[in-house]
């Protein structure tokens, strides 16, 4: 089974929160095989570490900030996850997102298009890029790596051509609304953070409880078997890539909300950052295995380490170092869990 049940993960999670693993059950191996346990444990450990080392970490305002800082890459990771679950990969997501933001912001600022319509057009453009990716992967039977490497460059170039290398400023309110905050208790929470969490919730529900979601796992696990059970691989893949594209458009809107500008330089490392979140989240790069909830933890781990180290006064480059080590650990754990099950 690629997914875990909720009762399995809540045990150690609650124990970690309340008693820091005081009564870890003896069946460690069983829990290690559950894909969300590793990422959650890593996240909680990181939080614990930073809470002990700096008194500014465990505050509502700071945790809200961390979620706000990962909303762009986290959202991209949702699209990346559904692609990777089908045993594909998307290198183009950051570039497609950047193109989407430039389309939205330029149309709204200089193009005399009402902001809501500009947003819709931006998202549709991103979805179209996704459809092209999916179409080339299925119809032309090209490897996803190559196809998306191509569209990465195309989207990057279009971004720079269309933007004339200029940052778009003076955006209308509708474009930056998701970067605004609302009070929750004594903490300001960014609307965009809620959008990202809601997106994860929707993706979790669809992947887990709907036929289409199960088909995504089936196609990634064994395309031939999926075909024999009557799933149209081609239609499913095109749909997955297109939805992923639309999600990148949404990520672009979140980015614009966060930075309040349309930035042609944005997203250049986001493809690898989103893959990092997916891998840290325990999703198998070979497809068919992993939980979207783990990916949320994966994205948060990166954000927590970056923020925590900065609060401790450690140079940000160490965050990159630690992330690298964690990625290898995560893949190693995945490998081990897989072998044990066989």
């Amino acid at each position: 089974m690629p997914e875990t049940t909720s009762t399995e993960t809540s045990g150690p999670a609650v124990a970690d929160r309340a008693g820091r693993g005081r009564d870890v059950p003896a069946t460690v191996a069983r829990f290690a095989a559950v894909p969300t346990v590793g990422p959650l444990a890593a996240l909680l450990l990181a939080c614990l570490f930073f809470s002990l080392n700096t008194d500014r970490f465990l505050t509502g305002g700071n945790l809200s900030l961390v979620v706000q800082q990962v909303m762009e890459v986290g959202t991209l990771a949702v699209g990346q996850t559904i692609v990777i679950l089908t045993a594909g990969i998307d290198l183009s997501n950051g570039a497609v997102m950047a193109f989407g933001t430039i389309v939205m912001t330029r149309l709204a600022v200089g193009g005399h298009v009402p902001a809501p319509l500009a947003i819709v057009i931006g998202v549709v453009v991103c979805a179209a890029f996704g459809a092209v990716n999916g179409g080339l992967v299925t119809m032309a039977r090209l490897p996803a790596f190559i196809v998306t490497l191509g569209t990465l460059n195309i989207a990057f170039a279009l971004t720079h051509i269309y933007s004339h290398e200029q940052t778009v400023t003076g955006l209308p309110k509708a474009l930056t609304a998701l970067g605004q905050t609302f009070p929750l208790g004594n903490t300001d929470v960014t609307y965009g953070s809620v959008v990202m969490l809601a997106l994860f919730a929707v993706a979790w529900y669809v992947l887990r409880f709907t036929a289409a979601g199960r088909h995504v796992y089936a196609v990634g696990d064994n395309p031939e078997a999926a075909r024999l059970t009557g799933i149209s691989n081609r239609r499913l893949l095109i749909t997955v890539y297109t939805i992923a594209g639309a999600v990148y458009g949404l990520a672009g809107l979140l980015l614009v909300g966060r930075t309040t500008v349309g930035d042609p330089q944005a997203g250049q490392t986001d493809n690898l950052d989103s893959i990092t979140a997916v891998v840290l989240g325990g999703v198998s790069l070979f497809g068919g295995r992993g939980s979207i909830v783990g990916v949320l933890f994966g994205a948060l781990i990166v954000g927590v380490i970056r923020n925590g180290l900065q609060l401790m006064g450690v140079a940000a480059v160490y965050q990159v170092l630690i992330t690298g080590i964690l990625v290898i650990l995560a893949v190693g754990v995945d490998r081990l869990a897989r072998r044990r099950r066989m």
């Binding site: 999670a13 346990v37 008194d55 500014r56 945790l63 809200s64 330089q265 900065q310 140079a315």
Partner: protein, 335 residues
């Protein structure tokens, strides 16, 4: 708490735990505060790898130590990485810094973040590169890039006086202020304008050695008679030198550049670069730290533009042009 979360059906236990953790933290988080006595200053550079910014960091670290304040550093992952700089500003603000020194990677895109930090009472000083508009930061400590360009333009004019020249201009990237100012400064110093027939080739190099080499190779294809090369910085200059060497044109072609990095000054010493305009990142950072500390101790907040100086470095000084020798350049170089 959990009911408020917008999820249909049963919630994954681990997600619930995280949300609960966040909310618990949100509820009890107000107690934490720093001691208030110690001053922390943040430094955000464009990248961690460029020796210019390494030197800047060194200057800030030394000065912070001397003044007994704490320094926090961060950088983007590539030139133009605005998102990482925004994140660093937020994290430093959360860490309670008194002031932030920043080299904006994207001069326009960073402006809203500067405003946010200033609204929280943080002293924001731009180093090396002004934000657009410059008033978005409290103050600017930087080289006058127009002056830097003018110095090498005048030098080139003085050496070449009277001879027919064919100029190649190896620029930075389109639309980037520093590159435009240096370019215009060179032209002013040389006494010509854009579009002058003596400029036979203009290429963008991103200030990168490999791209500088490619650009020079292409320029030589266009016109093999090029005998004066303006370069945006020394890596681009060394790339140009490699191309000229391959074409057997080093003897008859003069390269002028800007920056004053140690590699660049050594290239001046070796005669690969005729002259360079040296700037002082260490000073920018040190003066920035000083100014924030002075303000934190009740002094005046720095404002406006402070020129951190620039000197012409050459092994072959020209009469009537003030310049410093290679020895001075090496003693004050960075990288």
């Amino acid at each position: 708490m959990r009911r408020g979360f917008p999820t249909p059906g049963p919630l994954s236990g681990s997600l619930a735990a995280l949300v609960a953790l966040t909310l618990v933290a949100a509820g009890c988080g107000s107690g934490a505060k720093g001691s208030g006595k110690d001053i922390t200053i943040g430094l955000i550079t464009k990248t961690d790898t460029n020796p210019f910014f390494v030197k800047m960091k060194e200057g800030a670290e030394k000065e912070a130590k001397a003044k007994g304040v704490k320094l926090m550093t961060a950088a983007g992952r590539f030139d133009g990485d605005n998102a990482s700089q925004v994140t660093a500003m937020e994290n430093m603000t959360a860490a309670g810094v008194k002031g932030i020194l920043i080299v904006p990677s994207d001069t326009k895109a960073i402006v809203p973040s500067l405003a946010k930090a200033r609204a929280k009472g943080i002293d924001v000083i731009a180093l090396d590169t002004p934000p657009d508009p410059q008033s978005a930061a409290d103050a600017l400590f930087a080289t006058n890039n127009l002056t830097a360009g003018t110095l090498i333009g005048r030098y080139a004019k003085s050496v070449e006086s009277g001879k027919p020249v064919k100029i190649a201009m190896l620029d930075l990237n389109p639309g980037i202020t520093v590159g435009v100012l240096r370019h215009n400064g060179f032209l002013q110093g040389y006494g010509i304008k854009d579009g002058d027939p003596s400029i036979v080739c203009t290429q963008y190099t991103a200030g990168d050695q490999a791209k500088g080499q490619t650009a020079m190779e292409n320029c030589l294809q266009k016109d093999p008679g090029i005998n004066l090369v303006y370069t945006i910085n020394e890596p681009a200059a060394l790339g140009a030198y490699t191309a000229l060497k391959a074409a057997g044109r080093t003897g008859s072609t003069m390269i002028v550049s800007i920056d004053g990095g140690c590699t660049g000054v050594k290239a001046v010493q070796a005669g690969q670069i005729a002259a360079t305009a040296q700037q002082y990142p260490l000073k920018m950072a040190a003066q920035g730290v000083d100014s924030i500390v002075a303000w934190a101790h009740g002094g005046k907040k720095a404002s406006g533009y402070t020129d951190t100086g620039v000197n012409l470095i050459t092994a072959k000084p020209q009469a009537g042009l003030e310049s410093k020798d290679v020895g001075f350049g090496l003693a004050n170089c960075w990288g």
